[in-house]
Every structure is written in structure tokens, then in C-alpha cells.
């Protein structure tokens, strides 16, 4: 083995060492992500409006389950649907009566009635999905493009954006725009984009903030959230605005900030 040969071997070894070091470095500073754990035994909160009349609690301790495997599958389906419902429409905020379904005690007939209800909810969902068209407010053309706002009204029957809602949203948009500060060093990065969905209650409080798209830069995401926190509470809904909640999507782009 010549000397040079040995040295290059060590150089390669050193390279590997550095790569391992850099890979290791990329992990420890990360915050542990929030994980959703699904419990093993399912308890289902089905949400229906009073208008449907089905307020009774489905619970029967006398009859044992007929087909455990089938039942579980169905319940799972029910659960998924129910989740979808709650997440998508935040239905619990509407006039509600909660029902608890204990899967262990459900009989076949009750399952049938359950399915019926699921169908009902499904049909309702379709209705809402159709009615809630997304509309975009074009940002003003002055100080560079900073946000794009999309909004979704909740609980109201109006499907398109009426001028009152539009005016309200543009007011909120102006507030957020004023509060938005791009973190140092990131102002020139063009490819950063964070999309945040904000849920505003009737009295102007922000009740829910959800990041729909992360920019890939944690500081940038955090500053977007911080901006939203700083504008809370927002002005309450104008009286003519129908509905309990308003969902607005903000797109944070590092434009020129005046």
C-alpha cells in the first residue's frame, strides 16, 4: 500500500464522517410533530341538527353484537365520516345535539338507522360543498403582492360573496398586511409561501388557525402565525353579515413591505 493511496482512503473516510455529521445535524433541532393518535376503542360523536329529529341516544345493553367484525368496520366508517364532517364544516358549532354511539352495544337495526343518518349527512355535505364556492379577492396592486385571500362563509346560506362580506374581508386583509413583517434575511427569498386558514368568530376573535401549506422555513411559518396572533381580535362582523363563522385563507408571500 503506497502512502498516497492510504491518504486518499482517509480523505474518503473523512468525507463520509462529515456527511454523517451533517445528516445528524439536520434532525435534533426539530420540534416533535403533533401526532393524532386514534384510540383503539372507538366512541363516535355523531352530530345532527335538531331539525332532523333524531335526538335519541343509540344505546342498548341487552342485545349482544351479532357480527363483531362487520360492526367494527361500519363503525370505523361512521367515525371517519363523522370526523370529516366535523373538520370540514365545523358542524358542532351549529345548533347541535350530540349523540354518543357506543359501538359495543349497537344492534343491527340500530346500525341500519345509523347508516340512514350517515346518508342524510352525506347528502347534506354535498349540498354544502356545492354551495361553498371559493372566491378570491385580488390584492391591491400597490406595495407588491403580499396576500391572496380566499374566503368561505360558514353556516350561512349565501353561496357567493356579497359586498358586505367582501368589504369585511378586505378590512381584515388590510390589518394583516399592516402587521405582516417578513423575518430578516428572508425578504429576498421568492419561493417562500405559507398558506394559513383562519377561522373568525362573529365577535371578531380568531378561534382557529390552521397552516394549510408550510413554506419549508420554520421561522417564516412562525412569523405568519405571529402576525395573525397580533391582529387578534379583529373587528366584529357587521350586523348585516350572516353566519357565525368566517373562514379566510391568507397566502403569505415575501413581497416588498412598505
Amino acid at each position: 500500500m503506497t502512502k498516497e493511496d492510504s491518504f486518499f482512503k482517509m480523505l474518503i473516510l473523512s468525507l463520509l464522517l462529515h456527511m454523517a455529521f451533517l445528516v445528524a445535524l439536520s434532525f435534533p433541532l426539530r420540534k416533535p410533530e403533533k401526532k393524532i393518535h386514534f384510540p383503539v376503542s372507538y366512541s363516535v360523536n355523531l352530530v345532527t341538527s335538531v331539525g332532523y329529529g333524531g335526538g335519541e341516544v343509540v344505546k342498548d345493553k341487552k342485545s349482544p353484537p351479532a357480527h363483531p367484525s362487520v360492526r367494527e368496520k361500519r363503525v370505523l366508517k361512521v367515525k371517519k365520516l363523522a370526523e370529516k364532517e366535523t373538520v370540514k364544516r365545523a358542524e358542532k358549532e351549529r345548533s347541535i345535539s350530540k349523540k354518543k354511539v357506543e359501538p359495543r352495544f349497537a344492534t343491527k337495526e340500530e346500525l341500519l338507522s345509523l347508516e340512514e343518518r350517515i346518508r342524510e349527512i352525506k347528502s347534506k355535505t354535498h349540498y354544502f360543498n356545492v354551495s361553498h364556492t371559493e372566491s378570491r379577492l385580488e390584492p391591491k396592486k400597490d406595495g407588491g403582492q403580499i396576500f391572496q385571500v380566499s374566503s368561505k362563509t360558514q353556516g350561512g346560506a349565501s353561496s357567493s360573496l356579497d359586498p358586505i362580506t367582501q368589504a369585511y374581508i378586505s378590512e381584515i386583509w388590510n390589518r394583516v398586511k399592516k402587521a405582516w413583517q417578513v423575518p430578516g434575511g428572508l425578504a429576498n427569498k421568492k419561493n417562500l409561501e405559507t398558506v394559513v386558514i383562519v377561522k373568525i368568530r362573529k365577535d371578531g376573535r380568531i378561534v382557529d388557525v390552521e397552516i394549510e401549506k408550510r413554506s419549508g422555513n420554520r421561522i417564516y411559518d412562525e412569523s405568519a402565525l405571529r402576525t395573525l396572533r397580533s391582529v387578534d381580535p379583529l373587528p366584529p362582523f357587521p350586523q348585516s353579515l350572516v353566519g357565525e363563522y368566517l373562514e379566510i385563507g391568507f397566502r403569505f408571500l415575501p413581497g416588498e413591505v412598505s
Binding site: 492510504s6 482517509m10 480523505l11 473523512s14 439536520s26 413583517q181 434575511g185 428572508l186 425578504a187 420554520r218
Partner: protein, 219 residues
């Protein structure tokens, strides 16, 4: 992208061009100095094993010729070179004149000293790079930091706001070059001192061996 954004790698990717250049220089320094540390550790380890073997042979041998013959298997070893030089000197030495013998021994000793110094030079080769890395890497890193903070302050001036969310990320990014400078320099310092110590010990053993070999000539 999302995976690395939270960690230090994400910070590196978002750093400015000067910081990236500084980090590239530091990476080069670090790569080479680690290669030298590993290479030297191996080379010195080999030398130490040789020295141990030679010293165990040394006590069983009663003449220079036998010793040289014993060491013939280690042709690359400096111990063999020393023994051979001394043996050649002993052949040349005129047996009948004691004063000439002493002169001859001195002559051999000079040659041995040169051989040992050459060997020392070979042992300590590249170690100077470690010393350079240890001394300069923190400053290179510091340069990156100073530049980054300079940039941050300029940005504060332009934006007219000193709020922490605006200022902190720039400074945090600037500091990363100092961190990497230190991460480069510290192993270099430790490696340099450790390896230099081992070099000195091996050199000492070579000198002892030479003294021992010369004692044969003076008999």
C-alpha cells in the same frame, strides 16, 4: 425540504452567499484536517508497533550485524535504515587504530542524526496543516458572522424596525459560521497536540535506538 428546514441544515441553505462561501472553506479545512488526523493516527500506530517489535529484538542481540539481519524484514522502517547505516560504518572502521575508531563513530553518529531528522520530518509532515486549521478556522468563521451581522444591521436600517422577529433570524444565521469554525478548529487542535505528542515519543525512541546502535560501534 421540509425535513431539513427546521435543523441547522435548513439554516445553512437559507444563509447568504458570503456565509455559504465561508462554510465551504470551513468544510474543506475540516475534511482535510480529519483526513490528516486519521491518516497520521494510522501511520504513527504502525510506527509504534514497529518500535515495540524492534525494542524487544534489541535486548536479545549481541552484535550490530545480527541486529541488522533481524531487521531486514522491515525494509521501510527507519529502524532498519539506522541499523544499516551504523553497520556500514562499522565495516569501514579500521580495526587496528582506536583513535580512528572513535572518529568513525562520530561520523556514523552524524549520519544517524541526519537520518533521524529526516524521519522526524516525515512524521510531522502535514501536521502543520492541522495547526493552520486550528488557528485560522475560528477567524474564518468569525468573518462570516461579522459579515452576517453587518447585513442584519443594514436591513434594520432599511426597514426601520428593530423588532426581534426581524433581527433575530439574520443574527442566528450569521452565528452559524462561527459555530462551524469552532467545530472545525477544535478537532484540529486536539488532533494536532495528540499527534505531535506521539511523534515526539517516536522520535525519542528513534534517538534511543541510534544511541544503542552507536554503542556497538564504540565497543
Amino acid at each position: 425540504m421540509d425535513l431539513i428546514s427546521g435543523g441547522v441544515l435548513g439554516m445553512i441553505l437559507h444563509a447568504g452567499p458570503v456565509a455559504k462561501a465561508v462554510l465551504a472553506i470551513l468544510l474543506f479545512f475540516s475534511l482535510v484536517s480529519w483526513a490528516i488526523i486519521l491518516f497520521k493516527a494510522r501511520q504513527l500506530g504502525q510506527m509504534e508497533r514497529e518500535a515495540n517489535a524492534v525494542f524487544s529484538i534489541m535486548n536479545d542481540v549481541d552484535s550490530l550485524k545480527k541486529l541488522t539481519l533481524q531487521l531486514r524484514t522491515r525494509r521501510d522502517s527507519p529502524f532498519y535504515t539506522i541499523a544499516l547505516l551504523a553497520y556500514e560504518g562499522s565495516i569501514k572502521a579500521p580495526k587496528e587504530n582506536p583513535s580512528r575508531t572513535k572518529e568513525n563513530a562520530l561520523e556514523v553518529e552524524r549520519r544517524l542524526t541526519i537520518a533521524i531528522q529526516e524521519e522526524n520530518e516525515r512524521l510531522e509532515k502535514y501536521l502543520s496543516f492541522l495547526a493552520t486549521t486550528a488557528n485560522t478556522a475560528p477567524f474564518v468563521g468569525l468573518f462570516g458572522t461579522v459579515w452576517g451581522i453587518m447585513d442584519s444591521f443594514r436591513e434594520i436600517g432599511i426597514r426601520g424596525t428593530t423588532s426581534l422577529p426581524v433581527v433575530a433570524p439574520g443574527i442566528s444565521e450569521a452565528l452559524i459560521t462561527t459555530a462551524f469554525g469552532l467545530a472545525t478548529a477544535i478537532p484540529a487542535v486536539v488532533g494536532y497536540n495528540y499527534l505531535l505528542g506521539r511523534c515526539r515519543r517516536i522520535a525519542l525512541r528513534l534517538e534511543n535506538f541510534a544511541t544503542y546502535v552507536i554503542s556497538f560501534l564504540e565497543k
